[in-house]
């Protein structure tokens, strides 16, 4: 069901001197080393994400951001961490103390567990390759909602409860679109294992964003909404709800929520990278490492490729946050249910039609979309195996799908814009006002008198 990987050979020799059993090294020691490394790196990321956020927001607003602690303010996150660790851990008098204490841990754990199945690189760059990896990521990351609801509920505060309710409503509605948008890519990959999805793209030497541009857009938007980031940061809308679900939290427990948020951003970026941007696959890396005849170099370069792709997506997160204003609550629900979910449903249908077209076109009019297969082999046993022509057709249909979806949504939601304005204004009829005459305000007293 799940596969663990051996460490790189130089480390393997070292570890064998300590344990002298290959199974122990493969199944216990090396996974623990990987887990430790990932947790450390993600924690450091969560620290420095706050620095990056402040710097990027400052640059976008023609400011400088933190500059005082260390060169270019680089030690600012450490100063912040020291401050948070030494702050008083306040628990409100009427709060439920146990749930209040453990909600941050649930939040952090739920996001950190998902890192175990993400393929950062081929071979020893994966902690474990679960054959339902994507399902695992989706199910575990939705446990994070539970933490927010518990935190909001147990705080016994109006703002926290409202924030928790909002976040649960938001996450539930966007999770649907998120899950549905993945199906299109899965129809091309034909596996739920995240390593398998990457390998499917490497085998076709094409990224699924080319086949599935619409799904990528839906996934990104739902992912941002899922992480409660601006412009979808309604659960912690500062101007309305003080701080949302973590209003009553202080010190380290508050920063755990913060950490979980930034780690969840990495998870969504990693899943988007794996599914749509080819994971660790970049054309030419294998050949480049082949010149040096080093497998470890290949894995390392793949890791760098993965991190760079993820970094670009994370920059997009910051970029969107500091560009767009926050959605109103009804607009958020509108976008989720009327735009994202129909679009993702359309994407499934469109992908099905694409694959059907690819199979129907094969051998028709000299076209050659699928790789030739042997006689007894079923049609879709090993992925789609598209030829160059087939890829061309798939990519064209993919981008056409973007346009089709836009037209479809524009048609579907053609009245959603005048929900509050045009239609309602047209229905306003004032009693006893002649055509074109200015309206005169009537008081309640005269209205009653008129009736009498």
């Amino acid at each position: 069901m799940f596969a663990l990987f051996a460490p790189p050979n130089f480390l393997n020799d070292l570890l064998l001197k300590v344990c002298d059993q290959q199974e122990v090294v493969n199944h216990v020691v090396w996974p623990f080393i990987q887990i430790g490394a990932v947790i450390t790196l993600v924690a450091v990321w969560a620290l420095y994400a706050s620095y990056l956020e402040r710097k990027i927001s400052a640059f976008m607003q023609a400011r400088l951001g933190p500059m005082r602690v260390g060169k270019w303010g680089l030690l600012q996150p450490i100063a912040d961490a020291v401050k948070l660790l030494t702050k008083e851990d306040l628990i409100p008098e009427k709060a439920d103390p146990y749930i209040f204490r453990y909600a941050p841990y649930i939040s952090v754990a739920a996001t950190f567990i998902t890192f175990s199945v993400i393929p950062f690189a081929p071979n020893w760059g994966v902690i474990t390759d679960v054959n339902i990896g994507l399902l695992f990521v989706l199910s575990i990351s939705s446990v994070g909602v539970l933490a927010l609801i518990l935190a909001g509920w147990s705080s016994n505060s109006k703002y926290a409860l409202l924030g928790g309710l909002r976040s649960s409503a938001q996450m539930v509605s966007y999770e649907v679109a998120m899950g549905l948008s993945l199906i299109g890519a899965l129809m091309f990959a034909r596996t739920l294992s995240l390593s398998g999805i990457t390998l499917a793209q490497a085998a076709d030497s094409v990224w699924f964003i080319l086949y599935q541009p619409l799904a990528f857009v839906i996934f990104l938007i739902s992912g941002i909404a899922e992480n409660n980031r601006a412009p979808f940061d309604l659960p912690e809308a500062e101007s309305e709800l003080v701080a949302g679900f973590h209003t009553e939290y202080s010190g380290m427990r508050w920063s755990l929520f913060f950490m979980a948020e930034y780690a969840a951003m990495v998870v969504v970026a990693a899943v988007a990278t794996t599914l749509f941007l080819g994971g660790w696959y970049l054309p030419g890396v294998y050949r480049l490492a082949g010149y040096f005849d080093s497998h470890n170099l290949y894995v390392f370069l793949s890791l760098v490729v993965f991190v760079v792709k993820m970094a670009l997506l994370l920059y997009l997160y910051f970029w969107l946050r500091w560009t767009f204003p926050r959605y109103r609550y009804d607009q958020l629900m509108d976008l989720g249910w009327k735009w994202m979910i129909p679009a993702s449903l359309l994407n499934i249908v469109w992908t099905g039609l694409t694959i059907f077209t690819l199979q129907a076109l094969d051998g028709w009019g000299g076209l050659d979309t699928l790789e030739p297969r042997s006689a007894g082999e079923p049609l879709l046993a090993l992925g789609l195996n598209l030829t160059g022509q087939g890829k061309g057709v798939a990519i064209t249909l993919g981008f056409a799908g973007l346009l089709v979806a836009a037209l479809f949504l524009a048609r579907l939601n053609r009245h959603s814009r005048d929900f509050n304005l045009k239609k309602q204004r047209r229905q306003i009829r004032l009693v006893d006002v002649p055509k074109g005459a200015p309206a005169v305000a009537t008081t309640a007293a005269t209205a009653v008198a008129g009736e009498g």
Binding site: L64, L320, W322, A410, I428, R429, L430, K435
Partner: protein
């Protein structure tokens, strides 16, 4: 019959909405500022960083800026240029200058004479509105409002500057760059 007239969108506007033109415009703006901050620091063109690192980097004030007062000295003899004529105190609309003069005995050409010299100069910066009328009234270019702008103190009494402070400049903490 609608009471409010809602304008119908034209085709160009509809296309703009369809392709989310305004969204991409906004994203391009923030990206431009971010790249501008990383590459050039040209805030004049509007793409760079506008912030000054104040205590370490001194801001450039305008040439006609009026700040802390100063009593100038003769650069050769290091004696005060002030002749205690009281014109600055008369010119001041806020009445914040006090010139206290004293007569000293001296012999000019073998004859004893009395000369009016400056004893003490009181300048209340808390009442000053930095109009620089005193500077214009001064016949010897002694009183001058400099470009120095850090006038904050910890007490009200600190705003009243005496002759020594006006001549030497107030002691202030300078931050290194």
């Amino acid at each position: 019959m609608p009471l409010v007239k809602v304008p119908r969108a034209k085709l160009g506007e509809k296309l703009k909405r369809f392709f989310l033109a305004d969204m991409f415009k906004g994203m391009w703006l923030t990206l431009k500022f971010n790249l501008g901050a990383l590459t050039s620091r040209d805030s004049v063109r509007g793409f760079g960083i506008y912030t000054e690192q104040y205590p370490s980097v001194r801001p450039q004030v305008a040439p006609r800026f009026h700040g802390a007062p100063r009593l100038n000295m003769d650069p050769e003899t290091h004696e005060s240029l002030c002749i205690a004529c009281n014109l600055c105190a008369l010119a001041c609309p806020e009445d914040c200058i006090d010139v206290i003069a004293m007569d000293i005995e001296m012999t000019v050409g073998g004859k004893p004479r009395k000369k009016k010299v400056l004893d003490e100069f009181i300048f209340d910066t808390s009442r000053c509105m930095f109009c620089a009328l005193c500077q214009e009234a001064c016949p010897t270019a002694c009183l001058e409002l400099t470009q120095e702008f850090e006038l904050a103190t910890y007490s009200r009494a600190g705003f009243v500057w005496n002759r020594e402070m006006l001549e030497q400049g107030r002691e202030s903490r300078k931050f290194e760059a």
